[in-house]
C-alpha cells in the first residue's frame, strides 16, 4: 500500500485549472521527483496535499489517501493535526519563508509545541538536536538568532529542521535549492537525502532542474499544464524518455548540448487560462505533433515502462540520450 495515493486531483482558481486530473502515488521511503516548467501545477498539487490551498482555490479529488487514511473527508482541525506533523513541506525562498520577527529557536519549537507538546526543556533539547542534524554549527547560539542574521543556505537548513521536527512520514520539498548558490545547492540536496534515509521518510522533490532530479530521485513524474504527462523510474526516464515534452526538457540540459553550437529550447510557453489548445495540451509546442494530437485528449497509458500521456510516444530506440 502506497504512503500517499492521489486519485484524480484537480485544483481550480476561477476558470484556471492549475492541476487537472492528477493521479500520483508515493511509497514509504521513496524519493519522487516532480518536474515541469513554471506554471505546470507541480507546487499547487503538493500545496493541495498539504491542505494549504486558500480561497479562491478549489480542490477536488476522488480520493487522497495518506497512510491508509482518507484526507478528503477530514475536518479542518483533523487536517491541521497531520499538516506539519506527518506531512511537512519546505519552500523555495528560505529568506522569506521564515518569520522575520521570531528567533530560529522559537520557530522550531513552535511546531513541536503544537504537535507534540512536551516541556519547554524537551522542546529546546530537540531543537538543538535538529539544528545539529541539519548541519548548523554552534546550535546553542543559533537558537537565539533571527532569520535575517543567517544566510540563505542556513535559513533553508532551519526550514528543514522545522519540517522534520515531528519526524514526518512524507516531506515535500518545493524547489528547495532554486534560490541558493550552486555550491550550497548540492549540500542541501545531500542533507535532504541523508535525512530521508535516516528518518525513513518519503521525499517529494519538486523542481524544474532535471539535473537535481537525476542526482536524487528514484522515480520521476513529469507535469505539463496541470497534467501528468510521463512517469517512470529515474534511470529509464533519462536514457529513454517517451513523451516528447520529457525529451525536449532533457534535450535542453546544458550538459547534453556540449557538441552543439546552440542549446535547444522548447518554443512557446505553458498555456494559460485563455489559450488552452484542443486535444493534447502540449501539441502547439510539440516537435512530433500530428493531426490527431489537436483533436482528442490523449489518455494516460500505463504499462511496464511507466505511464505516458501521448498519442505518439517516442520509441525507445528512436532517441539516444
Amino acid at each position: 500500500m502506497p504512503l500517499l495515493e492521489i486519485d484524480n486531483l484537480s485544483v481550480t482558481f476561477g476558470g484556471l485549472r492549475a492541476v487537472d486530473g492528477l493521479d500520483l502515488s508515493i511509497d514509504e521511503g521513496e524519493v519522487l521527483g516532480i518536474v515541469g516548467e513554471s506554471g505546470s501545477g507541480k507546487s499547487v498539487a503538493m500545496l493541495a496535499v498539504m491542505g494549504l490551498i486558500a480561497f479562491p482555490g478549489v480542490v477536488r479529488a476522488n480520493a487522497v489517501r495518506f497512510n491508509g487514511r482518507e484526507l478528503t473527508g477530514l475536518n479542518k482541525r483533523e487536517r491541521r493535526n497531520l499538516t506539519g506533523k506527518d506531512i511537512a513541506m519546505i519552500f523555495q525562498e528560505p529568506m522569506t519563508s521564515l518569520n522575520p520577527c521570531f528567533t530560529v529557536g522559537f520557530q522550531i519549537t513552535e511546531t513541536l509545541k503544537v504537535h507534540e507538546g512536551g516541556t519547554r526543556n524537551t522542546r529546546r533539547e530537540r531543537a538543538l538536536e535538529l539544528l545539529s542534524q541539519v548541519g548548523i554549527p554552534d546550535p546553542e547560539r543559533r537558537l537565539n538568532s533571527f532569520p535575517h542574521q543567517l544566510s540563505g543556505g542556513m535559513n533553508q537548513r532551519v526550514m528543514i529542521a522545522i519540517a522534520i521536527a515531528c519526524r514526518p512520514k512524507l516531506l515535500i520539498a518545493d524547489e528547495p535549492t532554486t534560490a541558493l548558490d550552486v555550491t550550497i545547492q548540492a549540500q542541501i540536496l545531500q542533507l535532504l537525502l541523508g535525512l530521508q534515509r535516516e528518518y525513513g521518510m518519503a521525499l517529494v522533490l519538486i523542481t524544474h532542474d532535471m539535473g537535481v532530479v537525476a542526482e536524487t530521485a528514484q522515480r520521476v513524474s513529469v507535469m505539463y499544464a496541470g497534467q501528468l504527462v510521463e512517469e517512470r523510474a529515474a534511470g529509464a526516464l533519462f536514457t529513454h524518455p517517451r513523451h516528447p515534452y520529457t525529451h525536449a526538457l532533457l534535450d535542453a540540459l546544458p550538459e547534453r548540448g556540449r557538441d552543439r553550437p546552440r542549446l535547444p529550447t522548447i518554443p512557446g510557453v505553458v498555456p494559460g487560462l485563455y489559450d488552452r489548445p484542443s486535444g493534447c495540451l502540449f501539441n502547439p509546442r510539440c516537435a512530433s505533433a500530428q493531426a490527431d494530437c489537436t483533436e482528442r485528449v490523449p489518455p494516460i497509458e500505463s504499462g511496464n515502462r511507466g505511464r505516458v500521456r501521448c498519442w505518439h510516444p517516442l520509441r525507445e530506440d528512436a532517441v539516444g540520450a
Partner: protein
C-alpha cells in the same frame, strides 16, 4: 542605541526654535492685545494703555521681545500668564493630567477597536464587514470633530440622557487631586459613585477624540495585514499546522504591527490637536481648552509656553515610539 537616542534628541533643538518662532509670531499677528481684551468694552485711555504695554514689555521691538522670550525659555522660564499672573509652567502642569487622561483613553479606545477591526477586514477582504468598516473609517476620518461631538451630545446626552454633557465629574463630588487623573483620584477618594461618574463623563470625549485615530489605525492595520498575509512566512506558519487564529493573530499580526505602531505614534500629535476641539466642546478642563482660552485673551506667554510644551511632549512620545519600533522589529534592532 544611545547614539540613536542622542541623534533623535538633537532634532529637538531646531524644532524648539521653529515652534517658538512660529507661536511667537502668529499670536502677535492676531489683531488686538492682551490689555484691550482684559478691559473689554469699558475702554481705556490711551496713556494708561501705553503705560500697561510698557510694563509688559509689549512696546519694545518684536525682535527684542523674542530674544527676551527665548533667553527665558533657555533658562527654563516660560514666563507668567498675563491674565492670572501665575507661572505658565504651573498652569500647564495643573491642567495637563486632564488632557493626558483623555488622550490615553482615546488612544486605548482607538487601538482596542481599530486593530481588531483592521485584522477582520483584511481577513474577510471584500466582505460586507470589510466594506462597512472601511466606509465607517472614511466617514469617521472625514467628519469634523466639533460636529461629531455635538451630534453625540444631542443623541446620548440630550435625547437619551445616558451621559453628562460636560466636565470631568459630577459637581456632587469633591476631593483633593492626588494624581490629577480623575479616574484614579475618584477611585482613591472612596466616595461611592465618584468613579462611575468620572467614567460616564469620559465616555463621549473619548469617543469623539478617538474617532480619527480609530479610523486611521483600522485602515493602516487592514492594509498592513493584507500585505503580510501574502508573505511566504505566513504560508510556512500554515504549513506547520497552526490554527488560523495563531497564524493571523500572531505570525501575521506581529509583522503587520510594525507600520501600525508608526501610525499610532504620528496620531499622538493629531490627538493633541483634536483635544483642543474636544475639550472645548465638552468643557474638559485640559490643555486644549486652556490654550483656546489663552488665545482668546491674547495671553501671549500662556499660548507660547503651552504650545512649546505640547510640541515637546509630541516629540518625546514619537521618540519613545521609535524605540518601541526597534523592540518589535528585530531587523532594526540588530543593525550596526
Amino acid at each position: 542605541m544611545l547614539r540613536f537616542i542622542l541623534t533623535r534628541l538633537s532634532i529637538l533643538i531646531p524644532t524648539f526654535i521653529g515652534v517658538t518662532l512660529l507661536t511667537f509670531a502668529m499670536i502677535r499677528l492676531i489683531p488686538g492685545d492682551p490689555i484691550e481684551l482684559l478691559v473689554g468694552e469699558r475702554g481705556l485711555d490711551p496713556a494708561r494703555h501705553a503705560k500697561l504695554r510698557a510694563e509688559m514689555g509689549l512696546d519694545r521691538p518684536v525682535l527684542e521681545q523674542y530674544w527676551h522670550y527665548l533667553t527665558g525659555v533657555l533658562q527654563g522660564d516660560l514666563g507668567k500668564s498675563i491674565v492670572t499672573k501665575q507661572p505658565v509652567v504651573d498652569e500647564f502642569f495643573t491642567l495637563f493630567p486632564a488632557t493626558v487622561e483623555l488622550s490615553i483613553c482615546a488612544m486605548l479606545f482607538a487601538v482596542a477597536l481599530g486593530i481588531p477591526a483592521g485584522i477582520l477586514a483584511a481577513v474577510r477582504r471584500g466582505s460586507v464587514f470589510d466594506h462597512s468598516v472601511m466606509g465607517a473609517a472614511l466617514t469617521g476620518y472625514s467628519m469634523p470633530i466639533f460636529w461629531w461631538g455635538l451630534l453625540l451630545i444631542i443623541l446620548f446626552s440630550g435625547i437619551l440622557g445616558w451621559t453628562p454633557v460636560s466636565g470631568r465629574i459630577s459637581l456632587l463630588y469633591f476631593f483633593e487631586p492626588v494624581t490629577g487623573f480623575m479616574l484614579i483620584d475618584s477611585w482613591l477618594s472612596g466616595e461611592s459613585g465618584a468613579f462611575k461618574s468620572a467614567v460616564r463623563h469620559l465616555i463621549l470625549p473619548t469617543v469623539v477624540l478617538g474617532t480619527i485615530p480609530l479610523a486611521v489605525i483600522a485602515r493602516q492595520t487592514r492594509s498592513a495585514m493584507l500585505e503580510v498575509l501574502h508573505e511566504d512566512y505566513v504560508r510556512t506558519a500554515r504549513a506547520k499546522g497552526l490554527a488560523p487564529w495563531r497564524v493571523i493573530g500572531f505570525h501575521a499580526l506581529r509583522n503587520a504591527l510594525i507600520p501600525v505602531i508608526t501610525v499610532i505614534g504620528l496620531q499622538v500629535g493629531v490627538l493633541f490637536g483634536g483635544a483642543v476641539l474636544t475639550e472645548t466642546i465638552f468643557s474638559w478642563p485640559g490643555i486644549g481648552k486652556w490654550i483656546i482660552d489663552s488665545i482668546h485673551r491674547r495671553d501671549y506667554p500662556s499660548v507660547q509656553g503651552g504650545i512649546l510644551l505640547i510640541a515637546t511632549t509630541v516629540i518625546i512620545i514619537n521618540l519613545l515610539v521609535d524605540l518601541v519600533y526597534g523592540l518589535i522589529n528585530p531587523r532594526i534592532r540588530h543593525r550596526r
